[in-house]
Subunit: 211 residues, 2 copies
């Protein structure tokens, strides 16, 4: 199975690396990191990752995964990437998105009327793009599967593993990456966060979106 | 605060990127990716990451984080890295390890008699290195803080954020990365996994360790 993890300038690294750590362990996984060009790509908090493929060299992936980034997203103006996404979606079995990455599919015109989820702070934006934004940490509307923000990509990848390879493989990978989460705080969703934490998170999101 | 994320050939990417996604959002964080040399480094499942610093150029980090890798670990023979770790530990406020990364500190001779945790499949190995291996997903023995396998680095980073910057900052970052985990399976620790899943995980771990 040919898997394309999409890289673009200012992507959020965990959106991609969480699912990668699960999906790269699939039996028969052929993992590619695809970008518009061959140069290394800088994530929004400084990690620099090298592509293994370009849009021209990777034409028929079975699974595509797009990470998100801070909002606004200059990637939504990348016409070459949007055309590639539109093209490969015609034959891919799975089109996955994490966090605000769903807006890449929406902007490419392939998510119209589809059910999807996204980062909690981006739900209104995605809804304005003719997407049926649904509650849920992971939402399937085949061939699309989308997750909530950043860390939710791990849950997406395990759910997708269950669909593609069955529960034993999914559970074995969960055990290998010791994904038995024990968050030391309980503010991972807006309804769990205090007003003070909501304000602090808003400040962080605004800072991340600055150039 | 000067933060050093250590890169080495065959490291496990999520061990590093999970904590990075939390810690890079700290107020005043100055993030570095340090490797023995300047060349890009390949993670164990194919991700290629570029260092921003070398051992010579980054000499006084306040926080060091070492990721793990599959076992056996050729990095334990990297005398330059071990000497650097030993040297910077004299002044760093925090020395963090994820997964099997604790064995880097143990091999460098700075973890003797200390309390630490590691990947469930590596506990006996770490215990044989004169480390007091403790239960727990995150274990503090200042200046050391260690986590269980791979995904546990996110819990480590949030716990450390709470210690360094207080609960409001930790909860705000948790909310920004929407870390409200909802694993679709419940086999993330050995006591939760069936015998069949344990066997499948053992096969995956053995495959990951192959060259």
């Amino acid at each position: 199975m040919k898997i394309a993890f999409v890289l673009y300038d200012q992507f959020t690294a965990l959106d991609l690396v969480g699912p990668y750590e699960v999906i790269a362990r699939w039996p028969g996984a052929e993992v590619h990191f695809v970008a518009t060009g061959p140069d290394p790509v800088r994530a929004d908090a400084g990690l620099v990752v090298s592509p293994s493929s370009t849009l021209d060299s990777l034409t028929a992936p079975d699974l595509v995964l797009v990470p998100g980034s801070g909002n606004p997203m200059p990637v939504l103006n990348d016409k070459a990437l949007l055309a590639w996404v539109r093209h490969v979606s015609q034959h891919a079995t799975w089109m996955a998105s994490v966090c605000t990455g769903a807006s890449i599919y929406a902007t490419a015109g392939i998510l119209a009327g589809r059910r999807a989820t996204t980062h909690w702070a981006f739900r209104d934006v995605l809804a304005s793009m003719d997407v049926n934004v649904c509650p849920g940490r992971v939402v399937f509307d085949e061939p699309f599967v989308s997750s909530a923000g950043v860390s939710a990509g791990i849950d997406l990848a395990l759910a997708l593993t269950g669909r593609v390879h069955g529960p034993t493989v999914a559970e074995a990978i969960q055990l290998v990456i010791e994904y038995d989460p024990q968050p030391p705080f309980d503010a991972g969703a807006p309804h769990k966060a205090s007003n003070q934490v909501m304000r602090a998170a808003g400040t962080l999101l605004a800072a991340a979106a600055s150039p």
